[in-house]
């Protein structure tokens, strides 16, 4: 993985740019660490470096460890307090809901699910990007994944945590939620209903969380070891605990590599299966607008779509704030933008397919459901969705757009908004006007539901901000390996 000859952990002086015996990637001017990243010739994108500036390995370590080692700045504090504030709002609203009843929400006898399951699917979807980057791109040997994998995988964990809250709090009697688990009992024994998609959800989500957590943690062990070796005091003790006695020996690395591949193999099918199972929550229903076989691929594509958008958002911010432009290069974002374009187009194709099938199938209920989506009382949500999900990613046909930080940021946020509305559309517009017109109603969220949504974002960002301070956002060893390969290529190619 890394050459043992080099003393990678030796503290190095800043500005030491050319002391490396290995490789000679193009360097830029010597004007300070930032300018050290080098320019990239657009014409040579095939060879575009994934780690800019050809730094010494020690510099990599320093740069990545820097956010963990310095005291949190004002920006971090402000963000953290805002996130915690949002989280507190969510906690208060959840407390009220559990204490008083689901009646505090805007749900009614016709629309049984609204913000709650929309948010659930939204957050689960976001998580898929991390797993795809960590696992699938690993199996496909996509080198560009290395620097972003750690952050993306962390984002997955946090997203799944946020998602997991909703199935619990949306229950009328969450204190009896354990009924959903097939625990041994003397009432028969009474089993759970294995035909229910909600039950499959439980297995899928818990599996997803477990595997993702394991994968993430196992991947972090060497990095915790690095931090252990750099830290002191109480922080050293924590890192020591977390590093599980990592000793950096060759055999340890070999086992580590095997473990990672294994976990990647386990995690890969999850990218497809988890959101497929979540899509079954709707696909197995009889309600027009839910009763559709296209949902599994549609949802999986949508999940990757929204996940990558969230990764882009987070990384664009992180790279600026944590000064990690060397690792989160425009090349990375360009690749991610290509994924957005692909999955966005798949999602767009799915919309078109649904519309076509509704028309072609001739089922009056289904036809009406789709007409209602586009022209009924929630038309504004539908067109927001279409605009954000179908039109916005098309901008990424242009290379300049793919490489523009502004365009990427705005587009990513719009895409997430659009994907939230997609779930809102699927859930609410299908439910509120179903078979019998006598039960048609409207749905509007109450302040409690909005508060819980805000709280979920609060939780997500709280966790992410803590992650940024506690663990390296970029995997040291992976990115150093990428640099190594980059140098090899430049040297021999």
């Amino acid at each position: 993985m890394s050459t043992a000859a080099l003393d990678l952990d030796a503290p190095s002086t800043a500005g030491e740019a050319t002391g490396d015996p290995v490789g000679a990637a193009p360097t830029a001017s010597a004007a300070g660490a930032e300018a050290d990243l080098g320019t990239v010739d657009a014409a040579r994108t095939a060879d575009e470096p994934l780690v800019l500036g050809d730094p010494p390995y020690s510099k990599i370590t320093k740069e990545i460890a820097a956010p963990l080692e310095r005291k949190p700045g004002g920006l971090w504090w402000i963000s953290f307090l805002a996130a915690v504030g949002a989280l507190i709002i969510g906690v208060v609203m959840v407390w009220r809901t559990i204490g008083t009843g689901i009646g505090l929400w805007g749900l009614n006898r016709t629309v049984g699910w609204g913000f709650d399951i929309t948010n659930f699917v939204f957050w689960v979807g976001i998580g898929h990007a991390g797993t795809l980057i960590s696992a699938i791109l690993l199996l496909f040997r996509q080198k560009w994944r290395t620097s972003i994998a750690r952050a993306a995988e962390g984002m997955t964990i946090f997203a799944v945590c946020c998602a997991g809250i909703f199935p619990i709090i949306h229950m009328g009697r969450p204190w009896l939620g354990f009924f959903m688990f097939p625990y041994p009992n003397s009432r028969g024994p009474l089993w759970v209903n294995f035909r229910s998609p909600l039950l499959w959800d439980i297995f899928a989500i818990s599996t997803y969380l477990t595997i993702s957590l394991l994968f993430w943690y196992v991947g972090l062990i060497p990095d915790f070891a690095t931090m252990r070796d750099r830290a002191s005091g109480w922080q050293k003790k924590i890192y020591e605990f977390l590093a599980l006695g990592w000793n950096g020996s060759m055999s340890t690395w070999q086992r580590y590599e095997k473990a990672c591949i294994l976990l990647a193999g386990l995690a890969t099918p999850l990218v497809l299966s988890v959101h497929t199972v979540v899509s079954f929550d709707f696909a197995t229903s009889v309600i027009p607008g839910w009763h559709a076989t296209i949902f599994p691929p549609y949802f999986v594509a949508g999940a990757v779509f929204s996940g990558f958008a969230m990764v882009i958002t987070l990384l664009l911010i992180s790279r600026k704030v944590l000064k990690l432009e060397r690792f989160f290069t425009l090349k990375h974002f360009e690749n991610m933008a290509k994924v957005l374009l692909t999955t966005g187009s798949i999602v767009g194709a799915a919309y078109a397919t649904e519309l076509f099938v509704a028309y072609y199938g001739g089922n009056p209920y289904e036809r009406f459901t789709f007409w209602n989506r586009a022209f009924g009382p929630y038309a504004w949500a539908y067109w927001t969705m279409v605009g954000c999900n179908v039109l916005v990613p098309q901008i990424f046909w242009w290379k300049r757009a793919r490489r523009s930080v502004t365009v990427l940021f705005v587009a990513a946020i719009l895409i997430n908004v659009g994907m939230w509305f997609e779930r809102f559309n699927i859930i609410v517009t299908s439910l509120h006007r179903d078979f019998l017109p006598s039960s048609w109603t409207q749905y509007a969220p109450t302040i409690t539901e909005v508060g819980i949504l805000i709280g979920s974002f609060g939780l997500f960002f709280t966790l992410f901000l803590l992650f940024v301070r506690g663990a390296p956002v970029v995997a040291f060893h992976e990115v150093k390996h990428t640099l190594f390969e980059q140098r090899e290529e430049a040297h021999h190619g």
Binding site: G101, R109, G172, R173, M180, N193, S196
Partner: protein, 1000 residues
Amino acid sequence: MDVDSRLVTRTLPDGAPDADARPGAERGERLLKLGRRSLLQALGAGGAVGLAACEQVAPGTAVPWVQAVEGILPGRSVRYASTCTACSAACGTLVTVRDARPIKLEGKPDHPISGGGLCAVAQGDVRALYDARRYRGPQIAGKDASWQEVDALVASGLASGKGAVYVLAPTLVSPSERLAVQQFLAARGGKLVEYDAGVDGAAALLDAYELIDGKAVLPDPVLAACDLLVVLGADPLGTGRDPVAFTAAYAARRRARAERDFRHVQVEGSLTLTGAASDERLLATASERTAFALALLRAALAGASGPFVDLAEQWLGRARVAPLPAELAAQAQAFGAALVARRGHALVLSGASDVAEQLTVALLNRLLGAEGATLDVAAGSRVRRGRARALAELVQDLRGKKVGALFVVGQNPVEDLPGGEALAELIGAVPLSVMLGERPTATARACKVVAAAHHGLERWGDAAPRADVLTLCQPTIVPLFDTRDRAGALLAWAGKDGDYQKFVRAAWQARVLAGGVAPFELAFEQALAEGGVDTALAAAAIARFDADAATGEAGRAAQPPAAWPMPQKPAGGALELELCEEVGLRDGKPTFNPWLRELPDPLTRASWVATARIAPARAKELGIATGDAVEVAVGDRTVELVARVLPGQHPAVVGVPVGYGLVDGARSPRPDDEPAATRSNAFLLAALADGAVQTSGLAAELRKLGRKALVPLIQTELHAHGREIIHQVRDDHEVIGEHEEHYTLLRDREYDPDWHMVIDLDACTGCSACVIACQAENNVPVVGPAEIERRHDMFWLRIDRYFQPRADAHAGHGEAARPGLGDDANPNVLFQPMMCHQCGNAPCEMVCPVAATTHSHDGINQQVYNRCVGTRYCANNCPYKVRRFNWFDFKPTDEVERLVLNPDVVVRDRGVMEKCNFCVQRIQGARIETKRTGERIVPETACQQSCPARAIRFGDAKNEVDGIAAERERGRAFQTLGELGVRPAVTYLARVRRGAEEGT
């Protein structure tokens, strides 16, 4: 043994009070300090039948039974025959009594008039018994008092002898009560004034018959012989004077339609349930309706003979009305000819409060030979006797301060008479004003003395709704509070024995069971068990009661009346007001009952608030939408209402329901609900003119108040949007194609028994009795207007209402609709009772993660309340949307109100899903009884039992005897959403609507 000193005490059965008795237990404390267990013990220790005679409950000590009272087993219900006292229709009931308290009212199956059905108000009457706002004891000047003080005050008031004595009562349909009141009046020298607050035009009808016959008669329709029924502005099916009886007869006549055709034409301005049931419906304002009646009369003169031809011609000569619009005139000609063609089998009914129109219809019926065939004038109905004349006399005397004592028996004139607010002052000025009522109303507050009265379920009595029907009423619970029987109180104040039970028994001994072979006690017990006596005995008995009590008016031969009535002048102006009653609130008496307030009106689908019904065309013109706060003004009197755009209204008519905005109105059970608008008492808008209360044809103005109001609607959509979820056919023999069963991998399950339900939409009138019956049986909670508005209603059974363009009606099933006959101006109305269809392939059962909803061996989709965690996927997946979720804790908390709960049905917790389960407790009960007795007992669901039209049929599809399998195979049978493959156990029979034909 420790005796809980908080227990209410009773005398022991042998009448000897216990030596340890606590003297003078405080009223009010009595009930409130009890816990549930001790309360039930106390009630049980009292014994239901045996001690019902005790009016006052003397203190004693409660001890558990060593020898139980015969027939009372804890946990087993007993049923007693009685009579409903919620209105004067006096339908026969069977009261289900559990642990010495009534929990459900059901119709008595063999009652000659009601035939086993009960209306929504009757089903809600059991909740009225357990109303926390009932008077707990008598009051003087608004403060609690004792009966001794009240008796003393009344005695001194009556003794002074100054001024006239009046008793103001509703129609006393009980002969014993009438006798008691007459005895009081004889002793104290007073007058009885009966009046009824409803808007069904009975007073005008009585006046009309007095004009032509010299005797006020309330004729009874006989639908069995009727082939053509024309109804002018009346709603006998929904809110008439005897809706249960009329619906039963109407449904029976429709069922016989295959053998002999039956056609129903309705002419009205405001949409009613009867209009919804009609085959042909014409829109007309009040004056147009009168003119229509006159046109029919003119047509009926053709070929008529008899003493009334002259009278009719004279009347036609005098009655001046504005000419009919051309269309209506043509229709009147056509229908007039049709009526004449069916002489002897035709019937015209009118609900007008205008004597002129009633006179026209009376003459018309006579000329059509209806009397004796389709109209029973000889015996007639006895449920309405109120006359405006007598009431006017009383009001005059009140104004002239000539009234010395006024006894108001359960009436509320301050709120249900036009100009009633002035009455409050007048009543206050009467030296002795006594209210004999159950709960605080505006009138009760105006009276000096409140003599707290028993609820009907706590009273003895009898009822004679027709000259040949006499039933008994027996109490099924020891009086809950310190109340007296109202007739007994009057007797006591007349210086006689105030024990009303004794009085009734004595009255029966003398007049009813006098000539019998068996000793009286035995015969009386027999009559109690059967609920009454047979027709021959009844007819004789009632005649004897009449002879003793009434002032018998002699009839006279046909001659022109001294003074012809003037037809009401047309309202003039753009808009006319028509007051109407709603099925739940009727004339406002049940307005305190939250069950009935929450019951959505079958036509508007609104609950809790008074809605102004406006035609779509007119609403568009005025820029009014459903939910706008509007003001309806007649002269300088205004009421505030919520607008409801209702297809089927005449564009120039605004329909306003009475019964809202009363002081005693039900409050929402939710503590933070806003109080409803109080200025919505529509009785204020009626006019007292020419000694009659005019309730339609009043010139009105409609103004927007510029804001939106809370309009709790159960259903917002008006139409079925072309979906084939409900069908209508043109005759009984049409066959609706079946949806093919898709190929399925699912095993066919064998259910034994296989419970199915068939609902005949041709019989269903939308009266909603089933909805309240279900609520009573299954402990369905009331949630209040704010929750209803958020669509958090909890009804397990609802009646969907769809408007269908009339063009489609003539097309029959499957044919193309004729274009151009308008859409919402005068649509067909279709009702569809919707409850859980107990699907064989239930979408809900599939998706519940914890298996809280499963399928039983007998075809019921079970809901396991204690397993439900409330994910609500089942409700999302239900295509019929019949599942209801407990959004908050909706359980009733008041100690008294909780007594109405049915102990056989779980009271659901917050966060739990609930739905109809075909009254599984009744199915289980029948199964147990069948096992126990060896005789097959077929369960009846609560909704099925209550339906006056017998529209709901229930039974085992595997058992031929139940006939359910055959019903499902009928041509007009269909399943809503059956094509989804869910295999519903509920099948509907399509509504039959005859189209218009040439020369009808």
